[in-house]
Amino acid sequence: MLKIKKNIAISDSGFVFDPGTGDSYSLNPTGLEIVQMIKSGKSFEEIFQDFATKYEVEEEAFEKYYYDFTTTLKQLRLTEPNGED
């Protein structure tokens, strides 16, 4: 399961700070919701269910954008290196 590194600070407004590198980032609202759900340990299926009730989005489209987003999180090294099953 994908895990966000523990030391990463995430504010309610979507501001992200990585004390390891000193870099800061901003998330858009959907990005913030996904990160918070990942942090709370939700799986892709659970996250999609939550999004599908709230937003006008098909599963295929959501999956595409979800994985594109999480790949970026990995590239930015905001996730645990061995955080996947």
Binding site: Y25, S26, N28, Y55, D68, F69
Partner: protein, 452 residues
Amino acid sequence: MTKLIFERPIIQRINAGLPSKYGMAHKLEPISHIDNVSIKSLMDSYGSPLFIISESTIRKTYKNAFRAFSSRYPKVQFAWSYKTNYLNAVCNVFHQEGSWAEVVSGFEYDKAIANGVPGELIIFNGPDKSRQDLEKAIKNGSLIHIDHFDELYEIISLSKEIEERPKVAIRVNMDTGIYPRWDRFGFNYENGEAWDALNRIMANKKLDLLGLHTHIGTYMMSTDAYKIAATKLASLAVRLEQKHGHVLQYIDMGGGFASKNTLRGAYYPGTDTTPSFDDFAEAITSAFMSSEIKPDNLPLLILENGRALIDDAGYLAGTVLANKRLADGRRATIIDAGVNILFTAFWYEHDIRPVEPVSEQTEDTTIYGPLCMNIDVIRGNVMFPLLKKGDHYVIRRVGAYNNTQWLQFISMRPNVVMIDSKGEPHLIRKNETLETINSQELTPEHLKNFDL
């Protein structure tokens, strides 16, 4: 409960320190309508991508340019630069507004005649005029702007065969302090070639020398260059009168005023840097007024502006085909219009906007066209809203040079519609199809069949 619009999730680095080159990143406001007509509904009817031309913007821009000159100078005439956009509907809007035609080939000349422009109101420019073209132009009483001595002698030779007297001007090139200097067209001012050409025409007596012409460059941002050019042409007019007692009827200052597009690599956007028509008009007319030309002999001032008159009226709308990520993590958005139909993407950082509402979020994006070619980049590195596959975009200020320089390459050239002053759309050029292309081709008998 209605569901919320889903925006794709993104995360981006916040760069502390220097703001972007245009100051704070600004939101790209969507453009959903042109002249109160929905862009989406136009694409539903006419396809995607689609060129959309606003008739009322053409008329408004023309009137503004004409007013800038006619409020400062008694005799002003515009001639529509066909090569900038020679769709007949576009040309005819300019002709209805009072523009003559300015053409640079036999094909453009015939197009102007077919549109109904009287021969004597066609200015024939450029280095490429065949003997047949010249013969036709002389018989029609068109204004022939001579580019080189070979052309001058061709006209002199024709004048012995044809009854009508050729009406001519010479094109003059000169140093106006700008680079690159366009010295490949016409006769040079500084080295005396232009004066020499004028004297040979006067000595010949079979030609009617009516004017002087220059076109100092294109996308000119300097009004000073025009002032210098106008001053130099005025001095030639004065010398002609002093030496030959010959009064010129007109001076044609060409075109070249920058449009409000932003040049690639420019630091400031074109909307901030482009001089107004009033600025250019002031530079040119003040040079004439303060020259030694006698007030009674002030020549007709002709202008041949292209891009500054039509860029704003043209839009290219279309659809997002896909999003992907480049190897370095940057965003790539692929749209359905490529550089083959948007030639000006090579020169400009075009203003590209979403059609549907978007959030405040933007991402550093490179916008690619659909061609399977590496050069097909519509915009590099633009902070762009998060458009999804199927969303629509519209590119502003594409009226100049695209509908004439576009290529049929890999895909077909799309429909062009014009929205009239009442908001009615009209199809003014049909999209090409496989039949259009194949109708021009001939396959030899022995190549008609194959077995695979």
